[in-house]
């Protein structure tokens, strides 16, 4: 992420937080913040490639996308949406606490964020594992096993004709949510480091850049999910 995130050193006042190659704290902070935003732009393009594929195949294979989308667990997906937006709130509150110098609150909010992040991943795990089971489709007479690997993916019954369309949806589902989950895992790793720093009391209202920069990353991961949720779970639930 940013260099400042990686900066260690115990209980130093703001001035010693200044790295040798910067002139002022303001310059350092602006550089680090800009770096994170630029990094997020590369992340936009990273997910953008998959969204482009999604858009095209959805246009071509709408029928299969609707059928496969309805097989996703909307309840778990919905809970995860609430959990993740909640974690975005807690991280924002954590940044606020750091900004205003409330050490214990900062730690608490960061811990809460971590708990919500882990909850998201646990729910995701259960969603994923159900895709390896052969089961009756919710909305049709088909038997389905939705993980899109050769020899695993299986659709029989009335959906058989659109099986390949459904498989492409599932490829994109796993690619998009898998990449998203990977970002969550990396995020939780960084969060652990930052929470430790917060516990040691390293942040002050003059230097809390790591919390803020991490917050930007975490919010971005949230935004990706904000798009994934309707595009994957809610292609069409009517009719």
């Amino acid at each position: 992420m940013s260099d400042a995130v990686l900066t260690h050193g115990a209980h130093a006042p703001a001035s010693t937080r200044l790295q040798h190659h910067f002139d002022t704290m303001a310059q350092q902070k602006e550089a680090v913040t800009l770096g994170m935003w630029v990094f997020l732009v590369t992340e936009i393009m990273f997910f953008g490639g998959m969204f482009a594929a999604y858009l095209i195949y959805r246009m071509w294979y709408y029928q299969g996308f609707v059928a496969a989308s309805r097989e996703l667990d909307l309840v778990l997906g919905g809970i995860n949406t609430v959990v993740l937006i909640g974690s975005s709130l807690t991280v924002a509150l954590g940044v606020h606490a750091a900004q205003t110098g409330k050490k214990q609150q900062t730690v608490n909010y960061l811990l809460l964020t971590g708990v919500l992040g882990l909850a998201f991943l646990v729910i995701k795990y259960f969603e994923y594992s159900s895709k390896f089971d052969l089961h009756a489709a919710h909305h049709g007479a088909s038997m389905i096993r939705l993980f899109p690997g050769a020899g695993i993916f299986e659709v029989t019954g009335e959906y058989a004709g659109i099986a390949s369309q459904m498989r492409i949806f599932m490829v994109l589902y796993f690619a998009l949510t898998g990449m998203h989950a990977l970002h969550m895992i990396i995020g939780i790793g960084i969060l652990a480091v930052i929470t430790r720093m917060a516990m040691k009391g390293e942040f002050t209202p003059h230097w809390y850049a790591p919390v803020e920069i991490f917050g930007l990353y975490w919010h971005f991961v949230d935004i990706v999910w904000i798009f994934l949720f309707p595009l994957l779970y809610l292609v069409n639930r009517h009719g």
Partner: protein, 115 residues
């Protein structure tokens, strides 16, 4: 623009940074929850091809709220705005120009393979 050039004006003073009132955060969270409920609800209503537009529109509003308030873009420099805009712009290039091929696949300028 360049903090090295006006270092004297700023010194290392970071105390004047914008602190968002807590109420704003909770308000935004509430709005995000409400919009999530809307996007789920709308999926059950048949709006034809409008469904996807509504879904994307709601997602865009939600994302904007997160970017503007949670990520403090609203109080950030012009450069940050440009960075965000360029990300969106390039994603639109990727989508738009790829679609220039896919959306015209039905139009033929020759007799199709059927005469």
């Amino acid at each position: 623009m360049n903090s090295r050039m006006d270092a004297h004006a700023h010194h290392a003073d970071l105390g004047h940074e914008h602190v968002t009132p807590l109420g704003v955060y909770f308000g935004i969270f509430g709005a995000l929850m409400a919009l999530t409920a809307i996007t789920v609800g709308v999926a059950w209503v048949n709006l034809g091809s409008l469904n996807i537009l509504v879904a994307l529109g709601v997602a865009l509003v939600k994302a904007s709220l997160v970017v503007l308030y949670f990520m403090h873009l609203k109080y950030s420099s012009k450069l940050t705005w440009i960075v965000v805009a360029s990300g969106l712009f390039w994603m639109m290039i990727l989508f738009g120009i790829t679609m220039a091929d896919y959306l015209t696949r039905g139009w033929m300028i020759s007799p199709t393979i059927l005469h």
